[in-house]
Symmetry: C3
């Protein structure tokens, strides 16, 4: 690497100076590094949301270091970790499940290290801001080419998030909503082929079109499509599926083809 | 250009990874490029708002490539385009009117190209995320010095937004609100000289001061002024004109001098 | 300095192009400069909030120029200033108290200059956007190594914010809330030793734990701790202290040890 990229994902929000403090720490330790902010608007403490956003974004990011901090257990016994991905790149953050889906999107886990060597951290480590005092310094040192093996001891028992719910039906699928994006589109924990298309389907009993993009439904109509991350997804053309269906991340959504869909259309 | 600047305007919001995915695509294709985010908080699908914000900001940006994606028609027949501005610089985005005002702010359109050469795009193009798969790659390649003429075929019939409403009155002006900014200031589709100042005027029948800056009115008072983009504008000193007047973008506002203003003052 | 860092703090919000216009001005005048955005979500005109966020973030930022604009008096008689900090680095912005706490965090004020030399500004200076037309150009020129002494005349009577309230009690402290962060944590205008810990205390008469981090209280419980900026602070483990206590910046909060705390616990 002749140029060093760090991506940065947190629940720190944008109204305080927390994100900038971490940028500052990186700038001091790795002035040549370039930082891409993924998002800092993960709802406070929502580890699953942070994990999903990061996992879906990393395939588009340059190879480098992915710093992520959604850390309701900061200052407690939860371990600070760094993961080297099998497909290249590093992930740095708390051991609470946040990093694992992104590591899997990068080819799986080559090795994981419990960060214990204080020489990698800030000279003084606060109890409540490990992003600034532990994780950003470690990310900066990795971007500078430091050897992860020297940062601590190997970990084999990483904390993982519970797998999202997915149940195949004879005529469709019931799947958990992984994320709801700004447009109110629902991304489901189901692969694109869980519902065959194109054609008429139902979403939660409402008529919908299995298509390719929003405009395949009439304005205000429901569309079932494969989203840009390869997941089955539900949208409203020119509107919000989340609002129309009253659905949030973690809810279950059922999509059916065949009888029900035809009956609705009569 | 020994240094390459890309500006970036969308309605993607900041809570998902969409903006970062585009940054990542640019970083991979044009690692030396520097990106300036204009805004990603254009209301979803609000092409006019995106167009106005970009047009008012480009005069302050370095010459380079302006990537803008507010694209409710993504994946439909609407054309992906790039424009070379007569005054220098490129604009990349959907052909829905979004880019034209900024092109005019950069001296007009030298040429416009319908982006049809798939070699400029991502290897696989999704139906719903052309920002990542078409527009960011094209912006990155232009920043790298690629020849726009090779990206597709010339376009002469660009889609344009309807012109905003503006009617001169004997004693003032009725003009459409182009944008409302964070402070609740109303920017009108009228030039600075549409209302002569300084002095007493009325805004929607309410007494106001035609002045130079917010402090020219008493606290809580209405000010009519020339904003930093050269437009006639309405503000409240220490408050929000949008809230006081109940006005939003697209509404009409009437400003009068003379009798009415004097009558109000009596 | 072989590399030039500029931090940037405003109340401009993120939905308009104001922040990008300033980035653009810096890019044109100082193309090698690197900008770290601190926050642009200071509530409109809230000088104290901007001052506190910047002062707490600068210790983590690289040495350089700190550009800050929260400027309800833009275009009036208030002076544009730049400060050279005794510990290194510059601050640029309006003379309304915004910059002084950050200067003190950087070792105090070595010199302050009233910016009067128009050659440092944009060719045309608007009345309402001094961030773009005065402050960003000055920050860029300082980052390029220009001599602050040539920008104007020395100032000795800087405007300062009123000191926050702090009263020591026999068994605790009553202190003003300096800031409330995204998580609802209350940062008090009191040093860490104003309440001895660890142990049982009361916050506004409610039982709380003086501890080191959020997890030292039960879920939903109040914690009194030393925050990452060295201030006494109040949080709720997994919740918002601001919501629980109905407290905002500027309010007073009383923390007591001893009898009261024990009585509450009975």
């Amino acid at each position: 690497m002749d140029r060093h990229w760090i991506s940065f994902t947190t629940d720190y929000g944008l109204e305080d100076g927390f994100v900038a403090a971490c940028h500052g720490v990186i700038a001091r330790l790795a002035p040549e590094a370039r930082v891409i902010d993924v998002t800092h608007l993960v709802p406070p403490g929502d580890v699953a949301r942070g994990a999903h956003v990061l996992a879906q974004t990393v395939p588009s990011l340059p190879r480098g270091v992915h710093l992520a901090v959604v850390d309701p257990g900061v200052g407690t016994e939860r371990r600070p970790i760094a993961i080297e991905a099998a497909g290249g790149g590093f992930l740095v953050g708390p051991d609470n499940g946040l990093l694992v889906p992104a590591a899997e999107a990068l080819g799986g886990i080559r090795r994981a290290v419990h960060l214990t060597d204080g020489a990698w951290f800030a000279p003084v480590v606060s109890r409540t801001f490990h992003g600034r005092d532990i994780f950003a310094p470690v990310a900066a040192r990795l971007a500078q080419g430091a050897d992860l093996a020297s940062a601590g001891s190997a970990v084999a028992d990483l904390v993982r998030l519970p797998p999202p719910q997915l149940r195949r039906l004879p005529d469709g699928v019931t799947a958990e909503v992984l994320t709801v994006d700004r447009f109110g589109n629902l991304q489901l924990a189901a692969p694109a082929d869980a519902v065959p298309g194109p054609g008429a389907v139902t979403v939660e009993g409402r008529p919908a079109t299995a298509g390719g993009t929003f405009g395949d439904a009439a304005p205000g109509g429901l569309v079932v499509f494969t989203d840009s991350a390869g997941h089955l997804a539900v949208a409203v053309n020119g509107g919000s599926a989340a609002s129309l269906l009253g659905t949030r991340a973690g809810d279950l959504v059922t999509i059916r083809t065949g009888h029900d869909a035809d009956r609705v259309r009569e």
